[in-house]
């Protein structure tokens, strides 16, 4: 079992194997993303019932919540990939980490932006120093820091290692940051949705949200793979298999 896992791990570490394997998965992943997002959007926008208190503005939840979830998860993807790259010196992990940073930052920005717009009709202001929004803003800062560090090194190897360390330090810090922000902002709305409290939301509202969350996860994976594939070509451009690839292109 262990040797099997190790073999698989080793194979996964080969950029070439990753490139060709994901080439086969991509169409399916794209299909899942498209179906989930389109169905979820139409369902959420047109068919889900109106919220009793917030009216139709609550429909922003179908973007806001999945984007925020992925923003958070994306940071851990980045940090875990960075750790694997640091510990096992796996190049593919470095490429995944590098690709994950701008995607996570963009999703964090989406989460912040939709949160702000949602805030206007709900709280009467675009920006409220609420715990979740503030934590999200700090998460964006953390992403930007990793990206800035990544881009300021001329050597790609150094850039990857340095930003992996920063991502790991950030990961260790995130719970502390969240706790401290929670503690400070007494103006704190309870989290709108947690999986454990799913029942508190009307099932007709919740089902499209679930679909959107699945869609966002698929979307994230898709974009991450696409970016990693570009990184692979860039880093492996002197190898024969990329040369052959160019011949086909």
């Amino acid at each position: 079992m262990w040797t099997l896992f190790k073999q698989w791990f080793h194979k996964m570490g080969s950029p070439r194997w990753f490139y060709y394997a994901t080439g086969r998965w991509l169409p399916w992943l794209g299909l899942v993303t498209l179906v989930c997002l389109v169905t979820g959007l139409i369902w959420g926008l047109a068919f889900a019932p109106e919220d009793a208190k917030q009216g139709n503005s609550f429909r922003i939840i179908y973007i806001h919540v999945p984007a925020s979830m992925l923003a958070m998860a994306g940071y851990y993807v980045m940090a875990v990939a960075g750790a694997i790259g640091l510990i096992w010196k796996m190049k593919l992990a470095d490429m995944v980490m590098k690709s994950a940073a701008p995607i996570g930052a963009a999703l964090t920005a989406i989460g912040l932006f939709t949160g702000a717009i949602w805030g206007k009709p709900t709280w009467g202001a675009y920006w409220v120093w609420d715990a979740r929004i503030t934590s999200m803003l700090i998460l964006l800062f953390l992403y930007l820091g990793v990206m800035a560090l990544q881009y300021s090194y001329r050597s790609q190897d150094m850039a990857n290692k340095a930003s992996a360390i920063l991502a790991l330090v950030g990961t260790v810090n995130i719970p502390i940051i969240y706790k401290s922000v929670d503690w400070w902002f007494t103006l704190h709305q309870p989290a709108t949705i947690k999986f454990t409290e799913a029942s508190s939301m009307h099932p007709d509202m919740f089902r499209p949200l679930l679909l959107m969350i699945v869609g966002f996860y698929a979307f994230y994976t898709l974009v991450l793979i696409l970016n990693t594939r570009v990184e692979i070509i860039q880093r492996e451009r002197r190898t024969r298999w990329v040369g052959e690839l160019m011949g086909e292109a």
């Binding site: 109106e50 989406i110 932006f113 949602w118 974009v223 570009v230 451009r237």
Partner: protein, 64 residues
């Protein structure tokens, strides 16, 4: 079941239309950019690499 009686009602979202639609529009634009960026980058990279290949074929090894 459809929540809105008409397209008009759907677009206005009971007065919350501007908020909902701007949030969706901006988010989807960013997501489209996320999706297109690697595709464009890949194409540019392949073109650049091909050019370099041709250069090397014409002038011999130019080093790295």
């Amino acid at each position: 079941m459809q929540q809105f009686d008409s397209l008009q009602a759907f677009l206005s979202m009971g007065g919350h239309g501007p908020y909902v639609w701007s949030a969706y529009l901006v988010s989807l634009t960013v997501m489209a950019w996320l999706l297109l960026r690697p595709v464009i980058k890949r194409r540019q990279l392949l073109i650049a690499l091909k050019k370099q290949q041709q250069r090397e074929a014409m002038f011999g090894q130019t080093g790295h």
